[in-house]
Amino acid sequence: MLKKKICMLGMYSVGKTSLVRRFVHSLYEDRYLSTVGVKIDKKLVEIDGQPMEFLLWDIAGEDDHFSVPSSYLRGTSGCLLVIDGTRKATFDAALDLWQRTEEAIGSVPFVAVLNKVDLTDQWDISPKDLEDRDRLNWTFVKTSAKWGIGVEEAFATLGQKILHP
């Protein structure tokens, strides 16, 4: 069976681990636990009738003291660039993170995930912001790991991009 390495990228506390947990185990936990280093999970998916195994590298979120080591990105087939919709800073940081990723491993398929759509009252990203990114040809998927919205779609979209680059 085809195996693909997928990296979860994004700033700290954007919900990378929660998305993986929702996607792999259909679970959600309110408690926030910071990821140390990297945690790897596995999920069997089917894209266009083709079974695939996603090896999900849930890499610790970036902050002032930690940036994603390029060695973790090596050999990845695709990335989920996770953004916390309630924190504009994570939206801006995603662009920087993406540019650095392209520098390190070249262009790979990716999907930008706008997480935490359940917190609509705290939403911090305007349509204009999104338009700017559209010009960069980014694909956005809105998700809520808490409610289980859009998670499958985010991974399926990435799977499509990997299978049909």
Partner: protein, 584 residues
Amino acid sequence: MTQSPTDSGYDKGPDPQVSQEALDIEELRRLIAGPERIQIRQLRERLENPELRIKDISQILAEAIVHRTSQDEKIAKALAPTVEKAIESSIKRNRKVLVDALFPVMGPAIRKAVASALHGMIESFDKTIEYGLSPKGLKWRFEAFRTKKPFGEIVLLHTLLFQVEQIFLIHRKSSLVIQHVMSKDAKIQDPDLVAGMLSAIRDFVHDSFKLKKEESLDMLRMGADRTIWIEQGSLAVLAAVIRGTPPSELRLALRETLDTIHLEHGEALEAFDGDPALLESARPDLENCLQARTKPKPKKAFPLFWILFGVGIAVLGILIFFSIQGHRRSMRYLERLKAEPGIQVTSAEKRSGLYRIYGFRDPLAADPVELLTKEKLKSGGFAFNFESYTSAHPQLVLKRIVQKLKPPETAHLDFRDDVLSISGSASHLWISKTREAVQAIPGILKCDDSHLADLDVIEFEDLKKAVENRFFLFEFRSAEMIPGQEPELQAFIKELKRFLNLAEGLEKYVRIEIVGHADSNGSEWANLILSQERADHFLSLLVKEGLDPKSFQASGRGSRELYREEKTDRDRELNRRVTIHMIG
């Protein structure tokens, strides 16, 4: 480039005569040297055309180099700077090409060097423990001598024990598992996750400690006996999960396997996109790495040794068993001796295999030697030192009474609470003597013989009845007894004598009346006389047999006390009789 003959310099100007001559000469030259000229032209063409020269040289270059190399080293010296510059240039341009090219070559070369170093280490190790004289060391040294192997190698052999449980072939770039093999009994987690985390850890270590490119994490230890050995190749990484202490040869084997996989599946590794099926053919190589080494089982000892050993153990066991049993019997005997009436053990000790027992013993108490046989003990193992004493134990007192009274078997004596009870039966004489004797025996407060029957009295009463039941018959009108009664008469006399003796012994006064009877024939008077005569006659017979007439009296009753109503002669016969009666 070719030139026409006119361009050769022979033609100097237009002169018809000369020209004709020249034409002739030329014709002559063509006829004489025509073929050679063609060859010369061809040679010039080959020398002057670089493409043709390259072709020519290429055909002889290899042979020429071989030929020259066999003569001297000039070619090698001439080429060295160029080759060096070429390699240097290649490395500067793209290091990877040369690394990939040399990788399969370097592996074996490094292995050889490591093996050589290991051999040196074994020899060094041999010397280090050369003077170690532990029993195990000596045993291994003997084994080294026997198998003609270096001592150090034997030591390593004994100390190593391992099993390769799992092998991961991991794609270096993506950290995906290309192939995973495991031993039968290995317990595993998801290989993909393990491989991923393993790669992440390796990357973490590499990044954190800023290792050089050729340096990497090559071993992880988990607990006391599990390690992961990691061999890194240019395209793939081999990780082996090992239980126990593997030998260094294993790392060489892993390295060799990784090299082989690179060599045979280099292109597939390069093109790996997450589909392990393309590298399925690498599995046999990986499975060969699932090695295990166990400690050799100790050789079975020679059967005779075990037989002798077993017999020895059995004999020892039997001896111990008998020794314990003998000791137990001796102890049991000692306890029995202490509990025996009339024996007081004051001390007992075992010296030189002999039990010495000290104390007091009533002469009437049980014999200690006889008690030994009851416990199945031999008398030779015991020595007795008993002082004589008189025991007040009831059993001993009774024994003393019995010894003195000598009771008949029919009498039973019991001594309890200072009271002597006698039951059963005994002769009148023994009873009389006992009643007197008991008073003289110390310790007896009372003698109870209420349950003791006097045999003489019983016999006396029995005989009394027997005698009184006797009667003897007489002839018709005669004082003579009917013949044939002699045996009864003798028996009666015997009974009578015994009866009278008993009466005397019992101090009883007895008088016996012999009563004569007659049938009713004849007159009363005549019958009275006849009956008296019969009684007298019978008494005379008794006296004749030695009986004292003083004890008897004879009287006649005539026909007044008929025994039976006379209806027949037999009735009358029965009425002609004497009977016996006790008086008083």
